[in-house]
Amino acid sequence: MSITLFQLNRQLLTRALTRTGPLAIRQQKATSSTVTPEVANYRTKSAEWVATNENKFKRPISPHIAIYRFPFQVFTSGFHRLTGVMLNTMLYTAGPLAFLATGHSAEILHYIYTSDIPSWFIFSVKMFIALPFSYHTINGIRHMAWDTGAGFEQYEKISAAVILLSFVLAAGLTQL
């Protein structure tokens, strides 16, 4: 390999951040300076094309979500996005919650485990919290593999493995 592992991590991290994270905003503002002339030219032409279609011809847009028969992989990809959002909200709510519970965590845990809440309910709530973590992490590894150009074949088998592993990992996490 022509680059070190450190460089690889740095590049992957930068790219991961640039696509969705805090650096994305900076990238978008800098788009005009990094865009090649052909692309810039195309952007103006495509904007004109949209305007012509909408205003001059008043053409409708053909139906999409309503009629498309989505293959199974859209759910794996959509779930990845959904768990990402869930994780985000959990992250933001866990902070204030933890602040409220300082000093009382032993009390709260004692209350939960000695009350009459059935154990399967506690297990399912724990799974509900742990699954987004495990699914998003394992699917994230798969996305990173895709970014290196590997693993584009055998989508069904890899998806099945991902889902299975995420359940196993979540079940393991619930034991904590």
Binding site: P60, S62, I67, Y68, Q73, R81, D147, G149
Partner: protein, 304 residues
């Protein structure tokens, strides 16, 4: 000896072959007659049509540009499958010929190679000419390619798609000075194999219009079809503008709107894998994969 005569190409041989065929046919007929009576003789003059017509309802998306204020609607047509070819395009042509001449759709080769008749059939993007009609009693739903401006009925506006294709400059570009017509651009067998799975693209746009990312950003994201062709030219060992072709994608939208949803590979009617090509493109841009090795015989100042 008769066999040798029959095999010869002279008129005598021809006569021998004719004689042989007649002898064989009469003996076969005699044998058949004695073995079993032939009850179902095919009658070439009076072809018996099946008595029950197999009706199929076809629901087609319609919109007339001459009445732009009238909302698009689904129109039902009933066709007899006994009287129709097996493919959806056969059904559409039958409807246009016999029932509704105002139905508009693109078509040309009727064999899945030109890419004109790409449309959304039963929720999936395919070519109508190679999509078999499902014989079940469910109505057949035919829509234009998803999230495209509709010119009329099943005809989408491809202007943007072709503009995007132009931006990647899909032709060979070289820096070394050559006299055109002097030599061929030699390419090794391994280098030629790298183009397999990408040169077969017929630009039908089934993949790009199946991508939700392309639906929301068609004016900025290039789409799998165009990106796969860009990757094909990058990987082509005869092309010398690799670096410039790659640099074209260093912005937020042209390439990176792809979130590997993988609808494109599923939709391709020719069985190609655009998602893989885009993944390789991203890898090249991240400097994770090194640029594919060029055949040094055709690149560089020594090529004269």
């Amino acid at each position: 000896m008769f066999r040798a005569l029959a095999n010869s190409t002279t008129p005598v041989g021809g006569a021998c072959r004719l004689l042989f065929v007649q002898v064989r046919n009469t003996t076969a007929a005699a044998a058949a007659k004695t073995n079993a009576p032939d009850t179902k003789k095919p009658d070439m003059v009076h072809l018996k049509r099946e008595s029950k017509p197999r009706t199929k309802t076809v629901q087609i998306y319609r919109w007339n540009p001459e009445e732009p204020d009238k909302k698009p609607y689904l129109q039902d047509y009933n066709i007899d499958l006994n009287d129709c070819g097996p493919m959806v395009l056969d059904a559409l042509i039958k409807i246009k010929n016999e029932m509704d001449p105002s139905l508009a759709f693109r078509r040309s080769c009727r064999e899945g190679i030109c890419g004109s008749c790409s449309m959304n059939i039963d929720g999936r993007n395919t070519l109508a000419c190679i999509c078999k009609i499902d014989e079940s009693s469910k109505p057949l739903k035919v829509y234009p390619l998803p999230h495209m401006y509709v010119v009329k009925d099943l005809v989408p506006d491809f202007t943007n798609f072709y503009m995007q294709y132009k931006t990647i400059e899909p032709y060979l570009k070289r820096k070394t000075e050559i006299n055109i017509g002097d030599k061929q651009f030699f390419q090794s067998v391994e280098d030629r194999k790298k183009l397999d799975g990408m040169y077969e693209c017929i630009l039908c746009a089934c993949c790009s219009t199946s991508c939700p990312s392309y639906w929301w950003n068609a004016d900025k994201y290039l789409g799998p079809a165009v990106l796969m062709q860009a990757y094909k030219w990058i990987v082509d060992s005869r092309d010398e503008y690799t670096k410039e072709r790659l640099e074209q994608f260093r912005d937020t939208f042209s390439l990176y709107r792809c979130h590997t949803i993988m609808n494109c590979t599923k939709a391709c009617p020719k069985g190609l894998n655009p998602a893989k090509a885009i993944g390789e493109l991203k890898a090249l841009l991240a400097n994770v994969a090194t640029s594919p090795s060029k055949n040094s015989a055709t690149v560089g100042p020594d090529y004269k």
